[in-house]
């Protein structure tokens, strides 16, 4: 198997045994990038000089026979919403076109302690607002499985580069499904940890009560390794929670005997794509055969999750994005008449349409006379959604659902209708409201050849259950080994 197709844990063995060097691995990844990236367009910035330097450092460690961390020398891609010291961080927005962070996000500091190799920064919907990565101000990322379709979003670049083997793994961020949905659509593993598990310091804020950083990987073992690297409370983020972080590789147990899996009936409506419904039911049956107990559960407020999300997230975003005013960093409109006009012209020209739509929606929901009717109402419904999950987790250990109601859709198909695009998140936003950990693992392909994801959710801080079920499913199926054939001769 070519190096670029291997998992981080397989590569670690080769690096440790000195079969390969991190330099060779890094070169192999950039050769793969030269071959397929012009068609996939998952990266906004490539950092080859830094990568080779980091690879060299890892190689020295391996040569010295040092005890090297599992991610040492592993090429990783970073969503462009995570601050990387000295490396441009755009958030997919023209308003941050020239922004070079003076500091690293806590997750970057942690990854550097592991000795990773940073390949580059990945494309995304502007400020993580979107479900297709079409809202990037820079480029459209193409799904490696079918270049005419979207990779999902908002972390579409981070999902596509792992699927296209132009990175071994990557980091993304998930506010309403922005890791899980693109992972499903690109046929890779993607996980949102419990809200508070990972420090948000240096993650450019979208909706602060929902945002969480998490990994994209080629298998569940790599997912556990990346979680080990990035989780933990942080004095720089008061919302990170000080609970013990287990060694997540210890929950890679190929056994679900005695575990209870809940299947929420509200997720399997007649509107759900039948191929997806059949496929996910088949995946749940696999787990049942392996010894899990499967029972129906009810999450009655599921249908209100999108409406709740599109109040809470834009409201928080409208406050968070007030900082882009052309004063301290980023784009400033030239020759303003006065200060207020500078703010308005800078923001109106610097932000894209979807970001402005959400700022408008959020500002409206928080404005005098409407706050109780919209924002407070949404916060109350959030309580109801969370209570549904609390009740379900009294009875079951893990909840299994489809990750996305449809496979990847065509580029341009939903851009004209914002509401239609918002409904892409119907399977992922409920768990976001409750702050739950959730993973998407590949569970097959539809007839047209596009991947499907199985979403597994756990109670807060019960990542171990989620990983155990995901690992068992993966070890007993071969879906995660399926690879796209990227049409490098096509138009793309």
């Amino acid at each position: 198997m070519p190096l670029h197709e291997l998992t981080a844990h397989a590569l670690h063995e080769k690096l440790k045994e000195r079969e390969i060097t991190a330099q060779e691995l890094t070169e192999a990844i950039y050769e793969r990038i030269a071959e397929v990236e012009p068609h996939v367009k998952g990266y906004l910035t490539l950092t080859k000089d830094i990568a080779l330097e980091q690879a060299d450092r890892a190689d020295q460690g391996f040569q010295n026979g040092d005890e090297m961390p599992p991610l040492a020398g592993i090429p990783i891609a970073i969503k462009d919403v995570i601050c990387t010291k000295g490396v441009r961080t755009t958030c997919g927005s023209k308003i941050l076109d020239n922004f070079v962070p003076p500091y690293n996000a806590t997750v970057m500091t942690k990854l550097h302690e592991q000795g990773v190799v940073m390949v580059g920064k990945t494309n995304m919907d502007e400020f993580a607002m979107g479900s297709s990565t079409e809202n990037s101000a820079y480029q459209i990322t193409h799904n490696p499985w079918d270049l005419d379709t979207i990779p999902g979003g908002s972390s579409g670049g981070s999902a596509a580069v792992v699927s296209a083997d132009t990175a071994v793994c990557s980091l993304g961020s998930d506010t309403g499904g922005s890791i899980r949905q693109p992972a499903a659509l690109c046929g890779v593993v993607g996980m949102k940890p419990t809200y508070g598990r990972v420090s948000r310091y240096g993650l450019v804020a979208f909706a602060s009560s929902l945002d969480q950083i998490g990994p994209f990987t080629k298998d569940v073992t790599d997912c556990a390794l990346l979680l080990n690297a990035i989780c933990g409370s942080d004095a720089m983020d008061a919302t990170s929670v000080d609970v013990p972080v287990p060694d997540f590789t210890q929950c890679l147990i190929n056994d679900v005997d005695g575990l209870k899996i809940g299947v929420p009936k509200e997720y399997f409506t007649p509107a759900l794509d039948t191929e997806i419904a059949d496929n996910v039911h088949a995946a749940i049956a696999v787990l049942e055969e392996l010894g899990a107990t499967v029972e129906e559960v009810s999450l009655p407020h599921t249908e209100y999750a999108i409406a709740t999300y599109y109040i809470i997230a834009p409201a928080e975003a409208s406050a968070n994005l007030a900082r882009y005013d052309g004063v301290r960093y980023g784009y400033r409109n030239e020759n303003p008449e006065n200060l207020i006009s500078m703010y308005k012209k800078t923001r109106s020209k610097g932000f894209g349409e979807e970001v402005k739509r959400r700022i408008m929606l959020g500002t409206f929901a928080l404005s005098a006379g409407y706050q109780d009717a919209y924002y407070k109402k949404a916060q109350k419904v959030r309580t109801l959604i969370k209570s549904d999950f609390d009740a379900a987790f009294e009875k079951v250990d893990v909840i299994a659902t489809p990750t996305s109601p449809t496979p990847a859709f065509k580029i341009g198909e939903r851009t004209a209708d914002p509401l239609q695009m918002y409904l892409s998140d119907v399977m992922t936003t409920p768990a976001s409201h409750a702050g739950l950990p959730g993973i998407s693992v590949p569970c097959g392909l539809v007839k047209s050849g596009l991947p499907i994801g199985l979403q597994l959710l756990g109670a807060p801080f019960a990542e171990e259950n989620v990983l155990r079920v995901a690992y068992t499913f993966e070890q007993n199926t071969e879906y995660h080994q399926q690879k796209p054939e990227i049409q490098t001769n096509g138009v793309g």
Binding site: Y195, Y329, L384
Partner: protein
């Protein structure tokens, strides 16, 4: 729940420090009205006695003098070095003598 009018969009745009031409205003009015109409489905739910959730870890208290059993996460008020001015101004569109330059806001009088 109310819907949103063209004047409402202009008012909210001003609050958000955004400006739109007439065509954009019309488009936002139509789109926001449709989204708010969809969001109106929240009114199907009776929530008078439901407390709001602003944060999913209620035991995490952010102020000093926290309730018993809760963990406060305020940092000690200790002096630490801050970023050098050059590093902070490196991203500024118009740095000026160690400050962020902006258009004049006070008349010369």
């Amino acid at each position: 729940m109310a819907t949103i009018t063209v004047d409402g969009v202009r008012h909210v745009a001003n609050l958000a420090r955004l400006e739109f031409n007439d065509e954009e205003t019309a488009q936002f009015t139509e789109q926001l009205a449709r989204i708010l109409d969809y969001i109106g489905k929240l009114n199907e739910l009776e929530t008078d006695d439901v407390p709001p959730t602003s944060h999913i870890h209620p035991h995490q208290i952010f102020i000093l003098g926290s309730e018993e059993g809760a963990r406060h996460v305020a940092k000690p008020d200790a002096v630490k070095p801050s970023y050098p001015i050059e590093a902070v101004l490196a991203n500024a569109p118009e740095p000026e003598e160690g400050y962020f330059g902006v258009p004049r806001v006070v008349d010369r009088g």
